[in-house]
Symmetry: D2
Subunit: 150 residues, 4 copies
Amino acid sequence: MHADQLLPFIANTFDQMPFNRLLGLKVTRFDEQQAEVRFDWAGQLVGNPVQQILHGGVIASVLDVVGGLMAVSSALSRFGDIADAELAEKLGKMSTIDIRTDYLRPGRGQQFIATAQVIRTGNKVCVCRMELHNEQGIHIALGTGTYLVG
Amino acid sequence: MHADQLLPFIANTFDQMPFNRLLGLKVTRFDEQQAEVRFDWAGQLVGNPVQQILHGGVIASVLDVVGGLMAVSSALSRFGDIADAELAEKLGKMSTIDIRTDYLRPGRGQQFIATAQVIRTGNKVCVCRMELHNEQGIHIALGTGTYLVG
Amino acid sequence: MHADQLLPFIANTFDQMPFNRLLGLKVTRFDEQQAEVRFDWAGQLVGNPVQQILHGGVIASVLDVVGGLMAVSSALSRFGDIADAELAEKLGKMSTIDIRTDYLRPGRGQQFIATAQVIRTGNKVCVCRMELHNEQGIHIALGTGTYLVG
Amino acid sequence: MHADQLLPFIANTFDQMPFNRLLGLKVTRFDEQQAEVRFDWAGQLVGNPVQQILHGGVIASVLDVVGGLMAVSSALSRFGDIADAELAEKLGKMSTIDIRTDYLRPGRGQQFIATAQVIRTGNKVCVCRMELHNEQGIHIALGTGTYLVG
């Protein structure tokens, strides 16, 4: 695969993951500087039905997804063209080691935007910071994730 | 509500949460010592379709649910009978402050069992440890959650 | 105590804590927006003597100190003048609930600067983000702390 | 170095680290199953002088030390005899990636005992759980640490 096809390929892979589809996640920005994932409010994503707020697990999930996307981008950016088999093998070895989610405000809104940036990168481990905001810019949650990338 | 109706009522409230239903979670044990939540493998819970393993967000979600259940039990166990309005008010104020999830092994299995125990309790904050195993006893993930309970 | 004496009093209390003195910590900035703590390199703060880098525990300690300082400031800023006995009682109840430290780069340098900012505030719990840099602006570590403040 | 000299050598290396000496830490048990580190109460380890309790940074430090010790043991146990230069190189690459500390009860006591166990092991990353008790068995703190080991 040519280097310039990598990011679109990975974004598509994330969009197609069954649980990401269940949550309605869409990769809306993805380059070597930042990853962004969006999803719309949906009744099935609710935790507390009285308060009509997102379930904490939805928030943790999307933070993990956007952080993982960023970690993959960071790890792959040092390769140029890469054989498909090698790419598949590398992607198969990447995984979340641990993640911390801080819930800041109730998950209310019509659309939610998760972003990630790399704060430590290496050939084995990558650490990312993630944030979740709603469409009005309200900061809902924060994440810190450690990813195995090599 | 009589004290002995509290735990069944809360378990039912958790079972009815929309996102818990989407995940297929069932509260299978819930007393003042331990909370247990189970769910079955389902194709829509998959992260990586090649490897056929649970999405990390599913794991984080169920650990948060079982920890929250335990935290609620811990917080309510010091009340005896409680007026319904007061119970609703107290439950509405309870929330996850932060959670750490450690992914230990790939999420493979037919059924998954999440358990929680209280490690710090107080009238404002409760800390729980959570674990996820599959039906063969394989230890898949570990969580540590801090909950606001008063 | 008058409201404008509070922050200097608290900064002095932190400077006088025995373990903070052992580490050589100095509160160098402290207002309602930001807290900053500095310390100089010292041989006794070393972990690995071959590499001559700060011990991870030193880094975790100073991140906790600067985050705690910020949490105290955040909690007290909503009081105006406060009776000394009430202040002492409130301070006595404040404590760290949990903290995550991410080690980004080896702790090398001549002086180290820790800063904190509040990311969630309330009348019971405060969450802060902390950073440690050296005198050249190298980013060494990152922290996320949850504090009980009321 | 012969395989049976490894653990004593590593324990001694930890005992000699300058900051570990400042804290008064002693490795009191160290095999492939468990690591244990002890230290005595000392006035200079105090955070809050009114309450006479351990500084949170002391607790975070000792949890990191005992977890790191366990991670090193886990990583080295798969080698048999190892050349000194290779051992030094491997040890130099091992480091803490991130650690979470949960403070459960005030750090009061005459002696403190920190223990660790491995919960995830691999050729790159090791995850440990750590606990701190006092000499009366009171559980003071809990840690979860992720270590780079290869």
